[in-house]
């Protein structure tokens, strides 16, 4: 696992550095290093589980998606008995602060959960692609195999671009196709990284984004929800 993370780190740096240089963005390199450092070596220790509240932000609808075997699955059927961590992504993403970061953090969450089987039984990780034309079930299956999750981590897509729209709208996940100057789709999307924490009632209890998303924070939030189920008072 450590090898995978190290490989991820160096590949991201090697890939994104020339991108940043090409864009001529001042401080871009520092930003890349910054994003990676914060994902793997956060600058803060999250508050202890149960010492804070995560009031419901929103509720989400049920949606039918395709799993990496190409089989239709209901979002509610997957998440009803679990605390869910849901990331929207596309596998061709080259934004270091976006999908790659989310995958790296979820991989850490998966790793931590694997060491705590009782906790892992309460949790499901979902990575949902908003690029169904390229992210076919077969492709997601290959990506999943490469990540080799040890806990319940599903990779989902949808039958068509139209089918993913209501899911994105429901989660308020903005995604925009980026077009180049010639009027062709660049193959990229502009999207703000959002990773959603859902309780067993499909209520959104937290939304993570770049700069505030690391494995320890997610695990503390999961434990906070479990303590809440047990009647813990979050009042400090």
């Amino acid at each position: 696992m450590q090898q995978i993370l190290l490989f991820a780190f160096f590949t991201l740096v090697l890939t994104c550095t020339p991108l940043a240089l090409a864009r001529g963005e001042t401080g871009a390199i520092a930003s890349i290093e910054h994003a990676l450092q914060e994902a793997f070596q956060p600058l803060f220790t999250p508050p202890a589980p149960g010492t804070y509240a995560l009031p419901p932000i929103d509720t989400v609808n049920d949606h039918v998606l395709l799993d990496s075997a190409g089989k239709p699955v209901s979002l509610f059927a997957l998440t009803t008995a679990k605390i869910a961590v849901i990331s929207f992504m596309y596998t061709a993403c080259a934004d270091v602060g976006g999908c790659p970061l989310a995958a790296a953090v979820l991989q850490q969450v998966d790793q931590h959960l694997s060491k705590r089987p009782q906790l892992a039984q309460q949790v499901i990780l979902l990575s949902i692609s908003f690029d169904p034309e390229r992210d076919t079930p077969a492709r997601l299956a290959e990506v999943r195999a490469g990540l080799n999750p040890r806990t319940e981590w599903h990779f989902l897509t949808s039958p068509s671009p139209a089918a993913i729209q209501p899911v994105l709208a429901d989660f308020h996940q903005p995604v925009v196709k980026l077009w180049n100057e010639e009027g062709h789709w660049s193959g990229l999307f502009r999207h703000v990284l959002k990773v959603f924490l859902l309780d067993r009632h499909q209520r959104v209890r937290n939304i993570y984004s770049t700069g505030f998303f690391n494995a320890q924070l997610v695990l503390h939030d999961i434990e906070t929800l479990l303590l809440e189920e047990q009647g813990a008072d979050p009042t400090p």
């Binding site: 490989f7 520092a30 039918v64 059927a77 061709a92 999908c99 991989q107 490469g146 990229l188």
Partner: protein, 450 residues
Amino acid sequence: MYCLPSAPHRYPWLAVLCILTVLTGRSGIVRADETCQSPYLPKITGQEDYIYIWTLGAEGIGDGSDKLVTVGANPNRPEQYGKVIASVSVGGRHEAHHGGFTDDRRHLWLGGLDDSKIFIFDVAADPAKPQLVKTIETFVQDSGGVVGPHTFYPLPGRMLITGLSNSTDHGGKTGLVEYSNEGKYIRTVWMPDKAEYGYDVRVQPHLNRMLTSSFTGWNNYMMDFGQMLADKEAMKRFGNTMVLWDFHARAPLQIFDVPGAPLEIRWALQPRHYYAFTATALTSKLWLIQQQPDGTFVAKAVGDIGDPTKVPLPVDISLSADDQFLFVTTFMDGYCRVYHVADPEQPRLVHEQQIGKQVNMVSQTWDGKRVYFTSSLLANWDKKGEDNEQFLKAYTWDGQKLTPTFAIDFFKENLGRPHIMHFGQDQFYKNQLYTEKPSREPAAVATAAP
């Protein structure tokens, strides 16, 4: 990792593809947008097309109502540039003041400090013509007594709103209120007893820290300015504190003594710059709130703004994206002062220029090339007679001086008193993959999970 390292031996081509597509698709893009927004807000890139200005209604001016005014800001569109292209009245005067986009930038929330109404505009459907789509009239009731919604700060999926006052005594005790993007109340966090005033809020997510500042309550900000200055008791009722919070827990960690109403807060924008600036309205000082090696923060005054004995009343600050320049507006003398703040502990005045007889908000583009100013502070605090100029003025900034480009007289245009500005752009909303949230209903073809 999905793109590259997930299975690198299977997708060696993908790395090259990613590089090529990004280079062809995005090189040359210049980030524009305002510099001092929430880090959770997606930025518009390139030239802003519109400036949205939340404008106080003024008696005898047009319909006298608060309104959202849209001004063309793209010089490549001469038919719009520097002109009012839309104006949507919300009916009545509510003490229009501040506002902010939701984190998907599809809606602009605008607050009234007097009756605490919140007006929500859709800016995505037609960015040139924002439409009022919802009004929250229950802010005080929802929040358990918070009055005067001030800062609207987008967080993922929700809006964090600071209050200025409370419904019990209309004094300065207040709180932080959160709503979902759809306008559903989430929670209220009251300011700590030893720092009960509120004003601005800004989050530094990398550190899990949040800063709040302090102003004054409804009794003061709705009072005539001259009358208030003469009222010694009223002048005692201003905030003198800032609070550092554990952002995730919404728990106060440190309270700083910052005398004289610290108003706008600006965190540094560059990586590893763990400090923020504020300016105190009544004492006219720049303050630095800086992280120490042990992780705690210290607040200290780092310079005067103008001549504090003349009470120039600094009201807004705007930090450049490279953390090099801090633009400070002072209401009473109508000046913008630009400080070089590469060394944040020793700000150096590098430029000053009078913008008008009074000036209030300043917004700077991310590329540092354009700066916009508006004139109104509060309906009862604005100057009187000929000094009561009400304008939007646009300038370019070349690193040394401000050069005017266009100006709009908001009284001559029958609009009112312009306050906060936000930027809009057509291109930002093109090709978005969704347009609206569907109704809550079960999936049509749900099947059992494997």
